[in-house]
Structures are given as C-alpha cells and as structure tokens.
Subunit: 303 residues, 2 copies
Amino acid sequence: MSSSHMSGVLAPVVTPFTPQLEPDRERFTRHCRWLLSQNCGLAVFGTNSEANSLSVDERMQLLDGLMDAGLDASRMMPGTGCSAFPDTVRLTKHAIEHGVGGVLMLPPFYYKNVSDEGVYRSFSKVIEEVGDDRLRIYLYNFPQMSAVPLGIELVARLREAFPSMVVGMKDSSGDKENLGKVMGAFPGFAMFAGSEALLLENMRVGGAGCISATANVNPKAIDALFQNWESKRADELQAAVNRVRHVVQQFTLVPALKTILSHYGSDPEWNRLRPPLVELAEDDAKRLVTELDAVGYRLESGG
Amino acid sequence: MSSSHMSGVLAPVVTPFTPQLEPDRERFTRHCRWLLSQNCGLAVFGTNSEANSLSVDERMQLLDGLMDAGLDASRMMPGTGCSAFPDTVRLTKHAIEHGVGGVLMLPPFYYKNVSDEGVYRSFSKVIEEVGDDRLRIYLYNFPQMSAVPLGIELVARLREAFPSMVVGMKDSSGDKENLGKVMGAFPGFAMFAGSEALLLENMRVGGAGCISATANVNPKAIDALFQNWESKRADELQAAVNRVRHVVQQFTLVPALKTILSHYGSDPEWNRLRPPLVELAEDDAKRLVTELDAVGYRLESGG
C-alpha cells in the first residue's frame, strides 16, 4: 500500500446481482471502470455494497475480477471488517496482496455494548495476524449500523500503537462536529466524511475527502466540489450536490441507488438486492425519478 | 433431522479458545460430552458461543469434532444464521449432513430497520438453496442483539410457506408475554424460552423447553425443573435455578460463564474470549464467585 494517504471522492460501490442473486462480476467491473473514469475511487464492499450480505469468497472473487480487468488498485479501499476476525484477516491479506491503497475496516458488529478494550483488541489482533507493513487501515465509524462507536480515546490508542497503519477514518455518524473534533485531535489523519453533504465542511477542517453512497450515481459533480473546495464556487458546488443528495436520501439508500442505475442507465439488471434488503416499491421508484428529473439530474452514461 | 420437535434444556455451548485464540476443539468436545451427560442438549454456535466471532470453517470443524467423538447429533441444534446467506446455506447443509436435530437460525443481522418482506426472503432463499426435506429450522428471535425482530405475522408467513421446516423458535426477547402470544397463534410450535427464568412459564403455555446460557454451568438443576414442571415442586425448582441465574446475569454473560467454568472446574484455560468480548475484571470475577458460593452453587465436575 502507498505510504501517503488516500484522498478525494470514493464510492462504496454497489454490487449488482444475477437473477439467481449471485454477484455479477462483469457488471460490477464495468461500473468500477466507469467510476474510475469519473475520478471516483473504489470503496468496494462497504455497507452500501451489501458487503455484509456477501461471503468472504465472493468478495475475494469480485476483487480478483477488478485486478484481472486491470483497474488501478491504488484507488481501491475494500471493506474488510467482519464479525469474526479470521474473516477480516483473510480479506485484508488478500487486499494487500493486490496492492490496494488501503482497507476500510468495520469493528466486529454482532455483539452490542462492547468495551473499548474489546474493540481495541479486535483491531490489534487483526493487525498482528495480518503482519504486513504495507497495511493501511481506515477505521469505519458507523454506529447506527455497526452499533459500535469508535470514539476519540479508542482512535488515539490505536494510533499510538500502530502509527503507520491506522491512518484514517470514514465517519458515517453524520455528526458534523465529530469531523472537526477528530481532526483537531489527530492532525494529518485522513478523515473521510460519510456523505458528500459534509464534504466541504470536512475539507475545511483538514479532511481527506468523502466516501459516499451517492458517488455511485453522481461522481462527477462530487469530484468537482472536491477539486474546487478552496475556490469561490465551492458553496455553489456543494449546493448542487446537495440537491441530488436530498432527493436520494428520502429513500432507503441501496435500493434507491440501484433504481437510479437501472433507470438512468437503461439497465434493469441492476435492480436486484440480496435479502434482507429489497428493491424500492414501484411508487417510490417513480417518485425518486420524478424528483431527480426535477433537479436536472443526469447519470452521464454510467452503470 | 427428526420429524418430531426437539425439546428440553439446551445450552448455547460456550466455545473455549487456545492462547492463540484458536477454537479449542478438545476442550469444546469435552464440555459438550459433559452437557449431554447432564441431559442438556447442544445449541452449539449461539450468541453465547461467540459464534459470530467464528468463521464458517471454524464452526464446521468444531461440529466435525463432535461427530468424530461420537456425540449424539439428534441432541444438537447448531446456530447457522449469518449475515450473508451463502454462509447460512453452507453451515445449514453441513449440519443436516451430520443428522442434527435442527438448526437455530438468526436472521441476517447487519442491516437495520429492514422490512418483514426482506427477512422473509432471507429465510426462504436459504430454505430454497439448502433444498433438503430434512431441514428443521428453529427461528432465533433476539432483537436486542440482531436488531431484527421476528414478529407474529412474519412467523405466520414462514409457517404457511414451509410448514414442515419452520418448526420452532428460540425467543430471547425476554418478553414473557410473547411466549403465550406465539403459542396461542401457533399451537404445536416448538417454543424455547431464551432463559430458564421463563422455563416454567413457557412450559405452562405449551412451550418445548429452554435454550439458556446458564445451562452451560447449571444444567442439572435446569433439567430437573424441565422434568418436573407439572409437579408440586415446580415453583420451588424454578426458584432454585433463579437464584443462580440472578447472580450470573448481573455480569456480561459470556465472560461470566467462562469465569465459572475456570473457577469451579479448576481449569483457567477456559477464561479466554475472542474480541470484541473480554474476560471479567478481577473484582467482578471475585464477586461472581462469592455470590455463587453464597447461594450454594456447585458445578458438579463439568467443563
């Protein structure tokens, strides 16, 4: 992995499925290639990738497919954090062997009300078992889904123990103040906002970019904001991406993204989800498209 | 799997680990053999088994070990419900091939606020992929941990679609009224209370028994209550198991059970947990033992 931090806009890449609900490797690779062409990095196997509905082998096969297709591993930040550390170790080793830019690591997420000590041991056990100096971990803070918040004290302890490896964080808590708080505590930390709605805010406190579901369907506009965050147009660019974001986030996120790729990409094959997620109801899908049309949304040939 | 329901007392068998935190197959098998000798069935790979901290392969190897040791598969109800359905399918097929009495199935537990339709599809996809008439599913309702409640309507839909396969439930919600409600709706359903504190209550509404963490360390007394629930001594037997239960449940359950097996079984090797769980603090461990001594607790040579 690179010694410098990753930065910019990354998409937690949505995962297409065949009619039998097998991962659709070809369509996945095509979507990833398009995202890279929009200057959007690949946070494959995130929450919005339905990664926790994929087996370890399925994730490794999808990543192998991206490598076979010659996509740039340095722009990839695969999610590797599982409930069981042997799974996390396997995925992380595999990703490092492929030369990815970093890995996005959820804490183990089944057991609730666990102690900071337990979460610390989880990460340090994985780091020890992986045993590779090339490891670059971006901690994945998403208490609403994982039920395991990663607070400042825990991050400080991990940074102190593994300064070259615990290099950044994706903060999906939605807590605006947390971005500044973390950056204040750890200057140089590569902080990614979990939504482009907080991208400008995050850049202004020294953050590295954003990893946002909506980047799957609006990568160009979000990258324009990232590229021009110091310009006079920044607030206007933020407002533009917010208009699309505000429409999409009224709906359950993953099915909404798949509806958009199906409709605007004229590819109904996208509109399948693994249970427990389900596709949008027809009325919701229609309203999503109507409202996106109304804000002038275009996919620009992705998907 | 048997055509009749399972019943009685089962333990979600705690999983011992080596100093390297590998599953300790020999000690696990020994504990399972002891539990069977106490007439306690084996709900291996439950929440209190740290099952979600084990990989799919680790679970299969531990079950293979029980088979190699000649333990009775008809008394086993392995937990097989994972986040990703291919994992659930693999574990379930493997368990059926070994002739287990049934499987205890969690719904997928990463995604939150999912719909009943999505949970229904999860179970039906697994049933379809397993494709084996011998399958007997005990639904695992544990909303505090899985964050996915299994309500009456969902159970009714599953029972209607798969009457010979969806045969029972473990209810760990702790909601006493739910036991009667479910049994009222589905006479003949094999309902297991998630704690022996509700065993008598559950038997009185037509339930099948209990699957309780504490059965790992108090199987004989809990089985005595099960065997004699219609006798005049029932309330007294219930009170006896409650005394032990009330002490144990003041502490985090899995580390408390491992402390008990370590201390009363004179086997400190038991006192290891996989992160994110951690062993009891020394003061807590001492208090647990003191309070158990005070209620006259004895392990009777288990562990």
